[in-house]
Point group: C2
Chain length 337, copies 2
DNA sequence: CTGTTAGCGCATTCAT
DNA sequence: ATGAATGCGCTAACAG
């Protein structure tokens, strides 16, 4: 690999001249610029990023703790990641991934090794221990999601309370009186996973406001679980006419159970699924959905972090996204049901 | 941030002693080791990875070109990535992601910048231009998938010919005489996407061998497309009794169309879906599937690359995975249909 | 406009 | 068993 020194020699100039020619940080005569350019091409020179970043004292790399496979593997995760990668790229940063099962020590090493300038955390729990560790170290990070006390830290999150709440309101306005909510997996609910807690809360508040019964069930993220949960739901509460859920991976089974019970969507039964529009495309019949803007949230995460990195005394920004109701069932073959 | 020099000073030893104490690459007296250790803790010192990797002349970072969002966003992609991240981590490497829309120049810069030691390419086309560029540069890379002439390069791929071929055979053995194949999106087929070409080939060979009619259709990766394609299929060929597909994102719609046609799985109609087992969990009724080992393939990709990186004259390894038939419909509620 | 020099933080060869 | 010195490849004062 040719170095900048090689280029300098070949072009008959000094090292620093080459450096400045490349960075444009000081005027270079057109003639020497030419010679340098030519030397670069002849040698097929490419600057060494490791050296450059060491000298600059910044890696321009953002770390992302990848969610654990076992729990929650959804297309939405992919969309977070995708949005983050693209945003990072646009700002001249790269994303480096690390698998999730990290103890506090690994996390500290990862952070303080200087390889990554900041971190993006996904799958935040209300009392996430990773946040404590990082905050104590004063290490820059942002959350996709949030803890119960996120004051000092920027985050991008969905307004889960608003999402389920407005889903209930919408259904009530359309005449529904018995509305069930299917939550995330039981262990997520128990372990204080924010989206599980908050979405349930929004549902509760709103059915209570309308003085409707509160019917909610947790559900593992598989089709089979969804099938069984709805089977049970419809057995225990045969008069339920609508289901709200964010549980992406279980929806197919839920829907199947509804069908087998002889219910017809949207004639005498309704679903509101709060999932990404891309994910919604994978369902039949196309459901009524509330768009979960996963891609935008990943993007926002990166941008909040970069803001924090490039502006030392920027104050934390809390970005709450709202899920927008999308009437997917009005178009397409669902109407033929 | 404290540096190694700070630690040395505090411990009253030389820089190199600290370095060697950390790396263990030369004997250190127990006493000085203690002092160094203590200094490290008091200062909360962590070695700077950028500097370390520059001095070592290796980044221990592997680049991965992330697939384009628009085409093919599936859980399988996520599983490739997940497998790769985990494997890399186990070998002490990290994965750095870059978005796909790169021209030859960006790709060359990315590769030769020295930030990444090697590259993993996904979504390989039969005549993928990226491979030419990288091969010409002599840059280490591996493919998940393969080009039509992958001689010099390691890859991990699914044996698509075998997959569809054995799916046909299995159906024939179970009495099916009219077996349709639903391929990937039309533009993927046309643009020479290996899996689309090879899977179709396996299907063709085998139905021809059995002297059965050849009925194949391309299908966009959405539920709606799947619905419409199968609708048309069943209209044009009402005597079809089985469908084979790898088109993950369209399956829900395909299935819906089948149901609406009054066909019952598995009584008088069969599906074989070649998808990852994790993805299969999201379907109802649980289909007959052939397990697409996405996670393992991602893992293999990383391991092949590391092999190449750490053993200069390792010869290329071609790793073909086989999809295994899994009778998912035998368990669970599908039997109630 | 250009050259010289001193770091960035760590690894490592040569001495001792 | 330890220290001093050089180098990894680049950036950025400082000096002309």
């Amino acid at each position: 690999m040719p170095t900048m020194q090689d280029v300098a020699k070949k072009a008959g100039v000094s090292l620093s001249t080459v450096s400045h020619a490349l960075s444009g940080k000081r005027p270079i005569s057109e003639e020497t610029r030419q010679r340098i350019q030519q030397a670069i091409e002849e040698l097929n020179y490419h600057p060494n990023e490791l050296a450059r970043r060491l000298a600059n004292q910044q890696s321009r790399i953002i770390g992302m703790i990848f969610p654990r496979l076992a729990n929650n593997l959804t297309v939405m995760q992919l969309e977070f990641v995708m949005g983050a990668i693209e945003a990072a790229d646009q700002h001249g940063y790269s994303l480096l991934f690390s698998p999730s099962p990290m103890d506090d020590n690994d996390l500290t090493n990862f952070a303080r090794g200087g390889l990554v300038q900041g971190l993006i955390l996904m799958e935040i729990r209300l009392d996430d221990p990773r946040c404590e560790v990082l905050s104590k170290q004063g290490f820059p990070y942002v959350m996709i999601g949030r803890t119960s006390n996120p004051d000092g830290i920027s985050y991008a999150d969905l307004d889960f309370v608003h999402a389920t709440s407005s889903a209930v309101s919408y259904l009530v306005e359309n005449g529904h009186q018995k509305i069930a909510y299917i939550d995330y997996a039981p262990f997520l609910v128990e372990s204080g996973y924010g989206p599980a807690i908050r979405s349930l809360e929004g549902y509760r508040q709103t059915v209570n406001k309308y003085e409707l019964p509160e019917i909610s069930l947790a559900c593992n993220p598989t089709s089979l679980a969804g099938y069984e949960v709805v089977k049970k739901l419809l057995y225990d509460h045969p008069d339920v006419t609508a289901i709200i859920t964010l549980n992406d991976n279980a929806i197919a089974g839920m829907y199947q159970a509804t069908q087998e019970a002889g219910l017809h969507i949207p004639d005498n039964f309704s679903y509101i699924a709060i999932i990404s529009s891309r994910r919604a495309e994978m369902f039949m019949p196309t459901l009524t959905t509330m768009d979960f803007p996963a891609n935008e949230m990943g993007q926002a995460g990166v941008e909040l972090l970069i803001q924090r990195l490039e502006n030392e005394d920027a104050r934390p920004i809390h970005k709450l996204f709202e899920a927008k109701l999308t009437m997917r069932q009005s178009s397409g073959p669902a109407s033929k049901l």
